[in-house]
């Protein structure tokens, strides 16, 4: 099967490359557009700003100094659209002096105080304006990540409207519940490369190189028409920074601890000590001629707010970008992460919520290792046609160890080989066609799952028409063929239809419907283990679960009010079929647990997001998502789902003497999950104890540059400041209050 898989991919690469040769020969002579995007008031370069040349596929992101370069710009007059989170967008027409010359421009953007302006996203597998996307998309910038002092991406995702995180499961608009870490219904990509493990199909947040992440996009709703399996509920897509034109060194160190718990019953195990948390990041970036390099790494240590939950992890990331010509870029990247952690699974009981069960072997450790290696060849075949070829692999291993010795019965190694070939072309300025083929091969060697292989080969195509009256119609489809050693090939067809309409400069309307699916993971099909008193038995016959999601939304961004305002409203419906869940097989005398297609569910909801700057120094954001998740088979609320998610954020900039300061506060509310699996209470004491979530985070930052001349910023970060006790994961107390001091070299 592996040979057939690789053979198919090779043929596709050759076909696509050959098919575009003629196009590349017709490219006309053109100019290079270079420049900088700066803050209009301070003149500082803005990292991560998006520059897009209207009516083309061409665009770029600025480096850490705010610089950019776009090659093969054709025409005498070009319209350059610039956007950056927190700034008013730029729309500039540039007249090139000579079509062969290099044009240099400086684009100054005005701060808006909030993220209220048009931004550009790649959720449609190409650069486009956010209001042109027919589906809800949220974004986080590098600045958002750094300012929150997050140590893992999931911490930042908790503050995105419509998104909740339960354990390592990202739940977009209720599509996911709690599945013991197996089978994510949200696809995660890094620079377009899938980061789902080959065995469990789960997300490995600790491998993501946060210091290098420039933007995060969260696509809400089924995305399988472009991304295939796993994109049942949505897509989280991360993009790393381009190498800086000049040497860029950035670093961060932080340290702090968890404050004492209010309840002696939970606090006593600490015996007066304070659990500490610390970490450091370092990032280097430089462009040297045609070669640019990004290197970053870090370490995290967390003694945790509860016993038997300490962890230590380290990670590194490297990206080498070679630009042999203006038309071609080759990028090689690799990531490595390792962690050694105590394995707190659930509490002893609520009275002892900071302690593991009495029968937990306290010598046990969970050791994990992740490695990625990827190559991307990006070719600008013409001003209107681009090609991307992206092969790579993602290796994961986990093992339980006792006193350093691996437990043979609980270890797994998987390698997910991924290849992605994509061609994007603009036809007659009004039609953009994005097509490609992807292949994935999951190979697993495991005591838990046996020796397994799973292949998924897919073709996809999407067309976007710019119709009269500022309407964009999007039609797409994807065909996936999944095959495992023991299962007949299965085909999944995932169509999508979307429309976006620019009613006027202030109002954009969108609507979409699409299908999502998720093929069962190797863990769900082949797990054959004993877990406590339970025997988990394989069920190779699991079908893919699938969904149909529909959405209609309107975005209102008035330009005439005199202050930035952005309002987005959406209603959505998600029909879920054949959801895969672990269940007891009562027909077998041994009553094993097996994964089965059992649940049919419906989620109806509405979402309102509002962002505005009340003054240049004061901004607020708030987002409310209301949902009605229903299990249609049991005729009861769908388990592990919230009905209400509410996030609010405020930021206030001021100065103390010469020091520019910023105070940020965030509040997160989730209503009490209405239903969980009652049977958990039988095996885990007080597993049904849960409350609504009220979490307040706050941060105070000061830039020391005016005093010291050094690009240093210090921050005081408080998480869960109210020390509110809640449980997002069943029988797991969520993080209690912690306070960190963070020092950054910007």
């Amino acid at each position: 099967m592996i040979q057939r898989f690789l053979g198919a991919l090779f043929v596709v690469v050759v076909l696509m490359a050959g098919g575009t040769t003629g196009v590349s020969q017709t490219v006309s002579q053109s100019a290079v557009l270079r420049g900088s995007v700066v803050d209009r008031q301070t003149g500082e370069g803005l990292q991560g700003a998006t520059i897009r040349i209207a009516a083309t596929q061409q665009g770029a992101y600025t480096d850490s100094r705010g610089r950019f370069s776009i090659s093969r710009v054709s025409g005498r007059q070009i319209r350059v659209l610039t956007s950056f989170l927190g700034y008013q967008s730029g729309d500039t027409t540039i007249v090139l002096p000579d079509s062969r010359d290099t044009a240099v421009v400086i684009i100054a953007l005005t701060a808006s105080g909030l993220n209220t302006e048009e931004i550009v996203v790649s959720a449609g597998r190409r650069v486009q304006a956010v209001q042109d996307v027919p589906i809800s998309v949220a974004t986080l910038s590098n600045r958002d990540l750094l300012e929150r002092g997050v140590t893992q991406l999931d911490e930042a995702l908790r503050y995105v409207s419509g998104v909740s995180v339960v354990g390592d499961q990202v739940n977009i608009r209720g599509a996911s519940g709690f599945a013991f870490g197996v089978g994510s219904r949200t696809m995660v990509l890094l620079d377009g490369f899938p980061l789902m493990s080959g065995d469990n199909g789960d997300i490995k947040f600790d491998v993501l190189p946060l210091a290098d992440v420039e933007r995060v996009e969260i696509v809400k709703g089924a995305g399988s028409a472009l991304y295939g399996t796993g994109a049942l509920g949505g897509v989280v897509s991360l993009f790393t920074s381009a190498p800086s034109e000049e040497l860029s060194v950035r670093g961060r160190v932080y340290g702090g601890g968890y404050t004492p718990l209010r309840h002696a019953a939970w606090q006593d195990y600490r015996q007066g000590s304070t659990p500490v948390e610390w970490g450091a990041d370092l990032r280097l970036s430089q462009q040297l001629g045609t070669v640019g390099i990004n290197l970053s790494g870090g370490i995290r240590s967390d003694e945790s707010y509860r016993d038997f939950d300490r962890q230590l992890r380290g990670f590194g990331y490297g990206k080498l970008r070679w630009t042999p010509s203006d038309e071609h870029t080759v990028t090689v990247s690799t990531m490595l992460a390792q962690s050694n952690a105590e394995n707190f699974v659930y509490w002893r009981d609520l009275s002892n919520a900071t302690l593991p069960p009495l029968d937990q072997n306290l010598s046990e450790r969970l050791w994990t290792s992740k490695l990625t290696a990827a190559i991307e060849w990006s070719a600008m075949l013409s001003p209107s046609t681009s090609l991307v070829v992206r092969p790579g692999l993602f290796r994961t291993r986990f093992e339980n160890r006792i006193d350093g010795v691996t437990l043979d019965s609980n270890a797994s190694t998987s390698i997910a080989y991924n290849t992605d070939v994509q061609l994007t072309t603009t036809l007659a300025d009004r039609l953009i066609l994005t097509s490609g083929i992807t292949g994935r091969l999951n190979v697993v060697e495991s005591d838990l799952y046996g020796a397994q292989a799973q292949s998924i080969v897919s073709v996809f195509s999407q067309a976007e028409w710019q119709l009269p009256a500022a309407v964009i119609l999007t039609v797409g489809a994807r065909l996936d063929r999944e095959e495992t050693v023991s299962l007949d090939p299965q085909l999944e067809f995932s169509p999508k239809l979307g429309i976006s309409w620019e009613v006027d400069a202030d109002v954009h309307v969108r609507a979409s419907v699409g299908r999502g699916f998720r093929a069962a993971t190797i863990a769900e099909r082949y797990a054959n283990i004993r877990y406590g008193p339970f025997q988990v038995r394989p069920n190779a016959d699991i079908r893919p679960e699938y969904s149909w999601s529909a959405e209609a939304g309107v975005r209102y961004s008035p330009t005439s009010l005199g202050l930035p305002l952005d309002v987005d409203m959406a209603v959505f419906a998600n029909e879920l079929y054949d959801l895969i869940e672990p269940t007891f097989d009562l027909s077998d005398p041994r009553v094993p647990i097996t994964f089965r297609n059992i649940t049919r569910a419906r989620i109806l909801g509405a979402e309102l997001s509002l962002r505005m700057a009340l003054a240049s120094w004061l901004g607020i954001e708030t987002g409310v998502t209301a949902m009605l998740p229903r299990d249609l088979l049991l005729d009861e609320p769908l388990k592990y789902r919230n009905n209400v998610l509410w996030y609010s954020r405020g930021s206030w900039t001021f100065a103390v003497g010469r020091l520019p300061m910023e105070l940020q506060a965030e509040y997160r509310f989730q209503n009490r999950v209405e239903t969980i699996d009652d049977r958990l209470s039988v095996f885990i004491p007080n597993a049904d104890q849960r409350v609504p979530s009220h979490v307040v985070d706050a941060r105070l930052f000061a830039r020391l540059e005016p005093l010291t001349g050094l690009p240093v910023r210090i921050g005081l970060i408080g998480r869960n400041l109210l020390d509110y006790y809640y449980a997002e994961v069943v029988a797991n107390l969520s993080p209690t209050r912690s306070v960190l001091l963070q020092v950054e070299w910007l």
């Binding site: 019953a265 008193p533 009553v591 509110y724």
Partner: protein, 163 residues
């Protein structure tokens, strides 16, 4: 500015008040729900094959011997610790997790062979009308202690559910 400060402080105070009203606490642990009582044994115990005797509370009447264990493993049945055997009286006490729970078949059961899946014999069935053919329903609420006494007569065992 003053107006903003007032709004900000009010908002913060509101959030503080709202959030401090709730949250998990070790004292939130509900009082235990308990099924307890005494089992009396009349007439002679069997000479052999008395492996263990338990009080078992099942959400549904078992349809086969192996479905008892299935119910236990799937959380749909609760059982006591093994009662002393070859005695005339034995108290029992079972903590009921996940209360409130409803059990429609509460019995004293004996494993009368080596096979834990199949070798089960019902010794007495809870029935409010004293008719083992008409099992009674037992509801155990949060924090409630329900007392049920059983009277086993080895010469007059109830009808077996699998017959």
């Amino acid at each position: 500015m003053q107006h903003f400060t007032a709004v900000l402080l009010t908002s913060v105070a509101l959030v503080l008040v709202v959030s401090s009203c709730g949250g998990l606490s070790p004292t939130d642990v509900p009082p235990p729900s308990v099924l307890q009582g005494t089992v009396t044994f009349a007439n002679d115990w069997p000479d052999s094959n008395v492996n263990q005797v338990l009080v078992v509370a099942l959400e549904a009447k078992p349809t086969s011997p192996d479905s008892i264990l299935a119910a236990v493993l799937s959380g749909r049945a609760i059982f006591s610790e093994a009662l002393p055997t070859y005695t005339t009286e034995a108290p029992y006490e079972v903590e009921i997790p996940g209360a409130p729970r409803t059990f429609t078949y509460v019995v004293v059961a004996m494993q009368n062979g080596p096979n834990i899946l199949t070798d089960w014999l019902m010794l007495d069935v809870y029935s409010p009308v004293n008719d083992p053919a008409q099992p009674g329903t037992v509801i155990v609420d949060v924090g409630q202690t329900v007392t049920i006494n059983f009277a086993v007569d080895f010469n007059n065992l109830p009808p077996q559910p699998f017959e």
